[in-house]
Amino acid sequence: MLIFSVFKTLTDQQVTVELKNDLSITGVLKSVDQFLNIRLDNIQVLDAARHPHMMAVKNCFIRGSVVRYVQLPAEHVDTQLLEDATRREAANPSKR
């Protein structure tokens, strides 16, 4: 739930989602759910020349399970708070 909670605070921010198929999509995060499915708007694919099929795609829904990494905007993440949240979660083993 922690990551879900974090993503909730990142809505309407620019994120880069790296998929397990090596596709890297940058876009505005519109929503996430508890499966960490991601909806992106106004997307831009890294190395667009290699992925011409993505040229016309302007928004997308990404299934959470195909995400490898999500690059977050550092200025919108409170690292200390994130640490605390991690500690909270860690302190509560039932949530794991």
């Binding site: 605070t9 500690r87 909270r88 302190a91």
Partner: protein, 947 residues
């Protein structure tokens, strides 16, 4: 054109022959003998009948009125030439012959009117295909439908057309003159003109019909004439009569067709584009004028028709546009105003388009509102024309018109683009709408319920901690009233964290409300089922839509690190080490045993009466970094717990709960106090465990949060320890690296640590010191001087800062003596104690005054300082600040010493600033500000120093 195989040239040939003066007598008359040899029997195939209207057609039905006679009775010279082809005497003769029979009836009627029988014909004679035929072709009847006849008919009218245009211009002029008068009157006049024109056209049409009639009559007359000729010279046989009749029929038939064709021609003619026809010489003859007038009318009507058609089309387009806009409004929910604006624009653009298309009337500005109210089409066109003409008269250069046109074009293009966009959007929506209602609302609700029900937890705040805290921080940072948990709670326990508050999104809010209702329902249902079944019913939905936990995901990589959380005896360490390795965990588990061993040894020593037994003193190794980090994690957990408890603090009125809470909270705080190890003796280790905890960045940071939970006494104790062990701090020990100019990683790290220290630990010190009494400050300073090497400490920014804080507090106390209460009032004893301590410090620092400056320290270390470097000035600033504060407390006899030792530094700064060695204005100001900071404390100023 032959009818039943007869050669229809016969009649014409006969006529030609007759005209040449040949005697038909000389020619053998073909005999048609029915039933005889060579008879083809076609005569029986003829259908007789359909002659009912013959009388009407040929004027036998009654007297013919004179009202069609517009051209008057005057004979025309043109007619004469045409007339010459018809031997008039013959005509007259034959017409009046009583023996002629029925066809002459009409002739007899028209003759008494005193009108020369051919006078009306003559009007059209030169254009008539009949009259033209003899000249152009020897064949009579085929000429009717031939292109020759068509052209003949058309060409004069084309000439008229040209003339008509000229007259239209005149008309335009008239209109313009009228336009300067009252508009209504002008409108009326226009309508009148229109009416007149309509009348005239009607008349014209009537006349045309009449003329056609007459043409037919003449044709008949010709036939009659020929018949008469033949009858007079020969006895007409029945066969011949029949033949005549057949020919007549043929002619009649042709006439009907001709009429049709003429009508068609007229229509085509009216629809024709107005290509400029060759100019025709204008003859002043009244008949010509009459023609001209008629042609003008025709042309005007054609113009009007065209304009009307264009306008109709435009009206249609406009209506379509409006309709589309309305639809777009309904669909897209456009702002009404905006759309109205666009409509007005569209209409304006259209009006301009209209004007452009109406090439004869130049473009002129039309008020935007013009198109808004509905005007009947015909008057509207006229009104537009006149208005635009009027406006053109009033002003509007071609350039302006051009810009207007351009503007209109631009608007049209824009509108088109918008339209295109809208259409594409609509198409897309239509395309996607295939999938509409694939799921019913209840399906969607069901899914939402399942999904949301998995989000329901017992402690929504804790589970959504990050988002909750983050939004709270954000709100407080934006200055909004904070502390409002964005959590949906359902009855006793359970709820959903909503994360960051939406930014006034109504749709989202209503969705939230809807969801809340749904979730409440599902939670209640779940509870009921739970009661019924006696089991946790939410399990039935677990995994219904997939699993949230990644660990159960089958494709997940196998974990390389198998960590057993129970391997460690310390539960707090367990989670911290869990992600490191099992080995670490084992080490950690072993460590407490070692400690236990040490403890046992200590106890043994105590029992043996060791010298150290009086104190709780165990000289042990300082905390390793890992230990410190572990401890800090414990502290963090405690702090979090304490913070959460603090939030859940019940009102003090609720005694029972408050007491229970207080006990819990106090227990946490006590545990925290123990964990920070402040109470460990100063000599426990070097660095002291507490100082060790302050070394990592997060240790420095957590101090601020810890401070909120500790009592004042606890904080003072902590401060005392901190001051006593100040030189053990990493920021003091590593500060030497800051006196280098190398840009290394270590330096950057030390700088970062220092900044964090100043922002956190020093803030805690300031907050404690700001309430301290003079005696306490004296004690702290004494401790600092006693336990630390002050000259060294003063050469670090952290050390300098803490001394400055203490001195500043004393200064504040001194200045606020009058406002202090009895209790706070420092006793004279305190004051003398302080002065003593100050003097001691002064003595200690005197030799190192210049070295307090990082710039000086850098020089002594052999660095070549750049002559002007704003960084250096910034580095020196704390030193100047310290000296300024220091100087405030200096006794009169101490001040000269201070000034003497700092003279060089002051002068260097002032001179470099004033002599202009420093290029940067900002830097110069900084230098002077630094110096003045110090000098003003002594009652001096840099302005007094003359370089």
């Amino acid at each position: 054109m032959s009818f039943f195989g007869f050669d229809d040239n016969n009649l014409e040939n006969d006529r030609q022959r007759f005209l040449r003066g040949e005697q038909p007598n000389n020619q053998p008359i073909p005999e048609y003998t029915w039933g005889a040899e060579g008879y083809d029997g076609l005569g029986d195939a003829l259908q007789e009948g359909g002659d009912d209207l013959n009388d009407e057609t040929f004027g036998g039905s009654g007297p013919v009125g004179k009202d069609f006679d517009f051209s008057g009775t005057s004979g025309q010279p043109e007619y004469q030439s045409a007339e010459n082809q018809h031997p008039a005497p013959h005509n007259e003769l034959k017409y009046h012959d009583p023996l002629l029979g029925p066809p002459s009836q009409h002739q007899q009627q028209s003759a008494p009117k005193g009108i020369p029988p051919n006078s009306l014909e003559s009007l059209w004679d030169d254009k008539s295909p009949f009259s033209a035929l003899p000249r152009t072709s020897s064949r009579a009847s085929p000429g009717y439908g031939s292109p020759i006849g068509y052209n003949r008919l058309e060409s004069p009218s084309q000439g008229m057309n040209r003339n008509g245009m000229r007259n239209a211009g005149d008309l335009d002029g008239e209109i313009r003159i009228l336009a300067q008068q009252n508009r209504e009157r002008e409108m009326a006049a226009q309508r009148q003109i229109l009416l007149q024109q309509q009348q005239q056209q009607e008349e014209y049409l009537l006349r045309q019909q009449e003329q056609e009639l007459r043409l037919r009559e003449r044709e008949q007359q010709q036939q009659n004439y020929l018949q008469e000729q033949e009858r007079r010279r020969y006895l007409l046989q029945q066969e011949q009569m029949r033949q005549q009749e057949l020919q007549q029929r043929d002619l009649r038939h042709d006439l009907m067709r001709q009429r049709e064709r003429e009508l068609l021609q007229q229509q085509q003619y009216q629809q024709q584009t107005r290509t400029p026809p060759p100019r025709m010489l204008a003859s002043p003859s009244p008949r010509f004028l009459e023609h001209q007038r008629q042609m003008q009318i025709i042309q005007y009507q054609q113009e009007r028709q065209q304009a009307l058609r264009v306008q109709e089309l435009q009206e249609q387009v406009r209506m379509e546009n409006l309709e589309r806009q309305m639809r777009a409004q309904q669909i897209g929910g456009h702002q009404r105003q905006l759309s109205n604006h666009t409509m007005a624009e569209l209409q304006a653009a259209q009006a301009q388009l209209e004007r452009r298309q109406r090439s004869q009337s130049p473009a002129a500005r039309l008020p935007l509102g013009e198109g808004l109210h509905y005007v009947p089409q015909q008057p509207r066109t006229l009104a537009d024309i006149t208005q635009s003409d009027m406006l053109r008269d009033l002003g509007g250069t071609p350039a302006e018109q051009e810009t207007l046109r351009m503007e209109a074009m631009r608007k049209i293009v824009e509108a088109e683009k918008l339209e295109e966009k809208r259409r594409r959007r609509a198409a897309k929506i239509a395309h996607m709408s295939r999938y509409n209602d694939l799921m019913t609302q209840s399906d969607k609700d069901f899914i939402t319920r399942i999904q949301v029900s998995q989000l329901v937890t017992q402690d929504p705040y804790a589970d959504d901690f990050y988002a909750q805290a983050y939004s709270q921080i954000m709100r407080s940072r934006m200055g909004l009233p904070g502390h409002d948990e964005r959590v949906l709670k359902f009855g006793a326990g359970g709820g959903i964290g909503l994360g960051v508050a939406p930014k006034g999104n109504h749709r989202r809010q209503s969705a939230m409300q809807k969801m809340q209702q749904q979730v409440e329902r599902i939670v209640n249902n779940a509870r009921r089922r739970e009661e019924e079944k006696g089991m946790h019913s939410l399990h039935s939905l677990q995994g219904a839509l997939g699993k949230t936990s990644g660990r159960s995901y089958k494709a997940a990589p196998r974990q390389l690190l198998q960590v057993d959380p129970n391997a460690s005896t310390s539960p707090s360490l367990a989670h911290a080490t869990a992600h490191i390795s099992k080995q670490d965990a084992a080490d950690d588990a072993a460590r407490p045993k070692e400690d236990a061993g040490a403890e046992a040894a200590r106890l043994g020593r105590e029992a043996l009466g060791d010298a150290a037994h009086a104190t709780d003193f165990v000289n042990r190794d300082p905390l390793t970094q890992k230990e410190a980090l572990h401890t800090l994690e414990d502290i963090h957990d405690l702090v979090l717990r304490a913070e959460q408890l603090k939030q859940e603090e019940p009102p003090e009125e609720d005694e029972e709960q408050y007491v229970a809470w207080d006990i819990e909270y106090s227990a946490i705080v006590d545990k925290m106090w123990l964990t920070v190890k402040v109470m460990a003796p100063i000599a426990t280790s070097d660095p002291h465990p507490f100082i060790s905890l302050l070394m990592p960045m997060k240790g420095k940071r957590v101090l601020l949060r810890l401070a909120r939970h500790f009592t004042n006494q606890q904080m003072l104790t902590m401060l005392t320890l901190l001051v006593a062990c100040y030189s053990q701090l990493d920021v003091v020990r590593t500060s030497a690296i800051l006196d280098t100019l190398e840009d290394t990683k270590e330096r950057a790290e030390v700088e970062r640590q220092l900044h964090t220290f100043l922002a956190t630990v020093l803030q805690v010190i300031v907050s404690v010191v700001s309430n301290a009494s003079l005696r306490l400050i004296t004690g702290l300073l004494g401790l600092l001087l006693d336990k630390n090497d002050v000259p060294t400490l003063a050469q670090t920014e952290a050390g300098l800062s803490v001394i400055t804080v203490l001195l500043a507090r004393v200064e504040v106390i001194k200045q606020s003596l009058s406002t202090l209460t009895e209790e706070e009032m420092p006793t004279p004893d305190d004051a003398s104690q302080w002065q003593m301590m100050y003097d001691h410090m002064f003595e200690l620092l005197t030799p190192v005054f210049p070295l307090l400056f990082p710039s000086t320290r850098m020089l002594t270390r052999g660095y070549q300082l750049p002559p002007s470097n704003p960084v250096i000035d910034a580095l020196d600033r704390p030193a100047w600040q310290f000296l300024a504060t220091f100087a405030l407390h200096a006794a009169p006899e101490q001040q000269p010493i201070l000034v003497q030792s700092l003279r060089e530094k002051v002068l260097e700064n002032v001179i470099s600033a004033k002599k202009g060695w420093v290029a940067d204005e900002e830097e110069r100001a900084a230098k002077l500000a630094n110096v003045d900071l110090f000098l003003q404390a002594l009652g001096l100023s840099s302005a007094l120093i003359e370089p």
